[in-house]
């Protein structure tokens, strides 16, 4: 299986075998078993909106593979301020780099960039749409905490999602990627922030067993993974409604009394109060370790699209 020259735009473009191939390469990266580039490779990071974590982990990953990095961290220093189109910007930058990583506030921008550019384009987040490398990172975290995940004949994992499931793009991408694997998905949110219909349709079409609920206490004891995302205040039209429901979506250590020993709690970070700090000290907390997987996963993706492995 070769990824050389491929774009990484949306998890919807990846098959089960391709996802497992990326995770296998990430395991090699983590063990320091990926080779280094023998010729000088340049990665351009084109971040039209700020992101510290994604940009730094991409830069770290490229440098660990022996490559170099050019780019910008916000659009204010680019000619897009002069009115240059994204398409033209990409056509210009493609001459300077072997791989492009783009983050842009508009949905579909990474797909357009991939159509404009000859070198591989990696989507570092396009508005509320996709953030595929975060999803591969999340899948790698699930694989690390449940090593038999993805193996043939394994019983399905029961994976819960808690918080704002309507606008949380990491939830959308991860649930679609999980549809390739035996699992049962439990979506826990206020009704106004439930999983959107177009995502539910994809999961239903692929035969994924889905449950929806409003109370985490009713489901947490049966879960193998709980993926928590922020409830964002600005998503509520009625601020009183926000104040009323937010307490029901805060995970506390006391709620973990009867959970499965192998339950692991994931979170794409940053958290803003939706997991209390007493959870950090339980063996179930995995979110900080999860964040550390960003570099090997991005090393794996860069190595694959640049034909290093």
């Amino acid at each position: 299986m070769s990824f050389a020259g491929s774009d990484v735009i949306s998890v919807a473009d990846f098959s089960r075998e391709q996802i497992l191939h990326i995770l296998a390469a990430a395991e090699k990266a983590e063990r320091g078993q990926l080779p280094m580039f023998t010729s000088r490779k340049v990665m351009a990071v084109l971040f039209f909106e700020p992101s510290t974590r994604t940009r730094l982990s991409f830069e770290s990953a490229m440098q660990r593979l022996g490559g170099t990095v050019i780019g910008f961290a916000d659009a204010s220093s680019t000619s897009t301020r002069k009115g240059e189109s994204l398409f033209d910007t990409i056509r210009m930058v493609e001459n300077y780099a072997d791989v492009l990583v783009i983050r842009h506030p508009l949905e579909g921008s990474a797909r357009l960039a991939a159509e404009a550019a000859s070198p591989p384009v990696i989507n570092g987040g396009d508005g509320a749409n996709q953030h595929p490398t975060q999803t591969f990172l999340d899948l790698f975290a699930i694989r690390k905490t449940h090593p038999r995940f993805g193996a043939a004949g394994e019983p399905p994992l029961r994976i819960g999602f808690l918080g704002d499931l309507k606008y949380g793009r990491t939830v959308h991408s991860l649930s679609i990627a999980l549809s390739h694997f035996p699992c049962e998905l439990v979506f826990i949110s206020p009704p106004s922030l439930a999983l959107p219909r177009h995502i539910k349709e994809i999961l239903t079409d692929r035969g994924v067993a889905c449950v929806e609920g409003e109370r985490v206490e009713q489901h947490i004891d049966s879960l193998d993974i709980l993926y928590v995302v922020r409830l964002q205040k600005e998503r509520f039209a009625d601020q009183l409604e926000y104040e009323r429901v937010r307490g029901a979506y805060v995970l506390q250590a006391g709620m973990l009394a009867r959970v499965k020993p192998n339950l692991r709690i994931l979170h794409p970070l940053p958290r803003v109060g939706e997991i209390t700090t007493d959870v950090d000290r339980t063996p179930h907390a995995y979110y900080f370790a999860q964040a550390g997987l960003g570099v090997p996963v991005r090393q794996a993706i860069l190595a694959l699209v640049l034909g290093l492995v």
Partner: protein, 155 residues
């Protein structure tokens, strides 16, 4: 021809040469006319005609003109059950039901204001699938949002 069909024919006069688009959802009839940009052509329009299959339907008759493949694709998106009849000397020489294409390019506007296609000069691209209710669901290739056919806007 049934009595009801004869009655319908009387409501929308026959044409000597041209194209008849039948079985259009009534609410979409004027959109079909708009798609065809028929400023120069003789067009007769029937809306809310009774139909065995649809209850109410629309019919559009355009004299002295055949439709381009692009126009047929557009009609198939907003009226997936429409039938097209080619008329020569008052006779139907060809009749077929439109088939929605799997992919439509450059004919539907994405209604997501945050989609890149509304900010750059991009030829839009949508994949087309049958929805559970028999209608169509269109998914934007760029922002990946899916829409019911009632929600979409023709370019």
């Amino acid at each position: 021809m049934s009595k009801k069909e004869q009655h319908t024919t009387l409501q929308v006069p026959a044409i000597e040469h041209g194209t008849v688009i039948d079985h259009i959802p009534s609410h979409a009839t004027l959109t079909v006319v708009k798609i065809l940009s028929v400023l120069e052509d003789l067009v007769t329009i029937g809306i809310n005609l009774s139909s065995h299959v649809m209850g109410r339907k629309g019919v559009v008759k355009i004299a002295n003109r055949k439709l381009s493949p692009d126009e047929v694709a557009k009609i198939a998106i907003i009226a997936p059950r429409a039938t097209l009849s080619i008329i020569e000397s008052y006779e139907v020489v060809k009749k077929y039901t439109v088939t929605p294409p799997d992919v439509v390019e450059g004919i539907v506007r994405c209604v997501n204001p945050s989609c890149i296609t509304n900010h750059e000069t991009v030829r839009t691209r949508f994949s087309v699938a049958k929805a559970e209710d028999g209608g169509l669901r269109l998914r934007c290739a760029y922002c990946e949002r899916a829409y019911d056919q009632e929600e979409i806007e023709i370019v």
